[in-house]
């Protein structure tokens, strides 16, 4: 299977594309209302987690159903830390979230790198379950099962407001600042990962995924490589979870449910497994999904508080997942690339066949 090859572009081109997409997304936040900006912020945070998952599953060939656990590691660390050290700078909080996720990944990697297939999926699922249980076990810090840890809400820094005051006077809206912040954090994560996909480690991951015997024969330590893959994916999960907590201004035991692991997996498949573009698309789909689901419910006359209404997201994502697997197993990004190649082939063959 030949996959979309954005990561094969030269470094400068990759950076230009990522920075261009970031600038465009930032530009849109100036035109969006607060609700849409909040959705974009959430989508950007989720795209970081999907990026980690696509690295782990698409690139190193290890399946994970435990990404909600990584998100919880980052999210709860930020929440608990902020409750004791409210003045912690944003960047430090996000770095802590990343480190907390990475630590969770390292702990999981010890048994997980020995397992394959359904056993690995089971182990990662168990990790996600254990992580949510830890919230109850460490109730003194986390507040236990029913409480909600509140953080200081994000406020637009004065320098940021000054910088854009000429463009929009009402920039102080925390929703827009949250969206801009999430987009910038996601952009940094994508820049980092685009380099990693292109690196020696990225190539080693592919070989380990495709042919682990060949990888060993090339002198690659399989367990170390798989562990690194887990730690990086978990770090991104922690970063996404921490960012989500900062954006929400709170964290509860229900913030990172087990079902989000399945949603993440669906978003990765929908976007395209193992591609940076797929992770961006996954985040975008997540961002707009609530609007689409609300529209579906109102069109069909389903109350959003009814049993069917509350489960509509799961139903929609399941249908989308099955449809994608049937008609476009390479996901949306794979189909875009296939369509583009098809068009280019037709175009070049027309030129070749045209009379001189």
């Amino acid at each position: 299977m030949l996959r979309p090859n954005f990561h094969r572009l030269p470094t400068t081109s990759r950076w230009i594309v990522i920075l261009g997409v970031t600038a465009t997304a930032l530009g849109f936040t100036f035109t969006f209302n607060a609700g849409l900006n909040a959705q974009i912020a959430s989508g950007a945070a989720i795209s970081i987690v999907v990026l980690g998952l696509t690295w782990l599953t698409g690139w190193s060939g290890q399946i994970s159903l435990g990404n909600s656990g990584f998100m919880a590691c980052g999210g709860y660390f930020v929440g608990v830390w902020a409750n004791h050290h409210a003045a912690t700078p944003l960047v430090i909080s996000l770095l802590f979230a990343t480190a907390a996720g990475a630590l969770g990944g390292l702990i999981l990697a010890v048994p997980a790198t020995r397992l394959r297939g359904p056993y690995l999926a089971g182990a990662t699922l168990a990790f996600a379950t254990v992580t949510s249980s830890l919230v109850y076990v460490f109730g003194n810090w986390t507040g236990g099962p029913t409480s909600q840890l509140f953080l200081n809400s994000l406020t637009t820094p004065s320098w940021f407001a000054r910088m854009f005051s000429g463009i929009q006077a009402s920039l102080n809206s925390s929703a827009q600042y949250g969206a801009d912040l999430a987009i910038c954090v996601a952009a940094i994560a994508f820049l980092f990962m685009s380099n990693l996909f292109h690196s020696r480690l990225g190539r080693a991951m592919t070989l380990v995924r495709d042919n682990d015997v060949s990888a060993e024969l090339m002198g690659i330590n399989l367990r170390r490589t798989r562990t690194i893959a887990f730690v990086i994916a978990a770090a991104l999960g922690g970063l996404g979870g921490g960012l989500q907590t900062l954006l929400n201004g709170s964290v509860t035991p229900g913030s990172f449910p087990l079902t989000i692991s399945i949603t993440l997996l669906t978003l990765m498949v929908l976007g395209g497994i193992g591609t940076l573009t797929g992770a961006v698309l996954g985040g975008l789909i997540f961002a707009v999904s609530s609007n689409v689901i609300n529209w579906l419910c109102s069109t069909a006359g389903i109350s959003s508080t009814s049993n069917l209404g509350t489960n509509m997201q799961g139903i929609v994502f399941s249908v989308l997942l099955m449809t994608t697997m049937l008609i476009a197993p390479q996901g949306i990004s794979g189909n875009i690339v296939r369509g583009y190649r098809h068009l280019m082939q037709r175009f070049t063959s027309k030129i070749d066949n045209s009379p001189a």
Binding site: L2, R203, N211, L217, G219
Partner: protein, 235 residues
């Protein structure tokens, strides 16, 4: 030099190799021949520590290989090109070659450039995906990739598998040239005994996991009994 001493390897209760002993001289080509199920691939896999013997020792010079990790053996300078070649189909020729430098401190750009010089056919296809290469080109790529790390020992498992006689002859010539020019020690596992004996200095013939002949290649090539009973070369 590689020395295999009293090697026994089992798959559960079934012995794939029984008390196998032989030596491979430095800079020589040793062909390991035999029918299907003779234990040829098992032998190579055991040298690379992909399998653990139940008995016996393998030495690379004075270094014992049994018990070492596969990746450490690769770092000792033993390159193993497995059956099926193991190239990554979705990588280009150049990217596949760069995989060869993953565990090597060598400058990968220089090492890859050296292989392009050695294999001009690969240089012409450097941006082409491995999936689109012919069988012979894939074998060249697998060979070149193994050489990127500048090994001292090359273990080749069925390099002629699925190739036409002409391409097989090309591959064998390349292996022979490599061994001569680079002073590479080559252990060549082959079903195609005729082609292998043409370039080998020495031959080890296996039959159901035991050594039935360990002699200069010329002697094996001229021994009608060996050729008839074990190599299927004389009707």
């Amino acid at each position: 030099m590689i020395r295999v001493a009293h090697l026994t390897v089992k798959y559960g209760a079934i012995a794939a190799l029984t008390d196998v002993s032989f030596e491979v001289r430095p800079g020589s080509i040793t062909a390991v021949l035999g029918a299907n199920g003779a234990g040829k691939t098992t032998l190579l896999r055991t040298i690379s520590s992909l399998m653990t013997p139940s008995q016996g020792e393998i030495f690379l010079g004075d270094t014992a290989l049994v018990g070492q990790k596969t990746e450490d053996i690769a770092r000792l300078g033993v390159a193993h090109v497995p059956e099926g070649r193991g190239v990554v189909a979705e990588f280009t020729v150049e990217e596949n070659l760069r995989l060869g430098a993953l565990s090597s401190p060598e400058n990968s750009a220089h090492a890859v450039a050296a292989q392009f010089e050695r294999f001009p056919v690969l240089a012409q296809r450097r941006k082409q995906y491995a999936a689109t290469l012919s069988g012979g080109e894939r074998q060249m790529l697998a060979l070149a990739r193994a050489l990127v790390a500048r090994p001292t020992v090359l273990l080749l498992d069925e390099p002629s598998l699925g190739l036409s006689p002409m391409v097989t002859a090309d591959i064998m010539t390349t292996i022979s040239t490599l061994s001569r020019e680079e002073k590479l020690t080559v252990v060549l596992v082959e079903q195609n005994a005729k082609s292998a004996l043409r370039i080998a200095d020495h031959a080890v013939v296996l039959h159901v996991g035991t050594v039935v002949a360990d002699a200069p290649a010329g002697d094996v090539a001229n021994n009608d009994d060996l050729k008839r009973f074990y190599l299927g070369l004389v009707k």
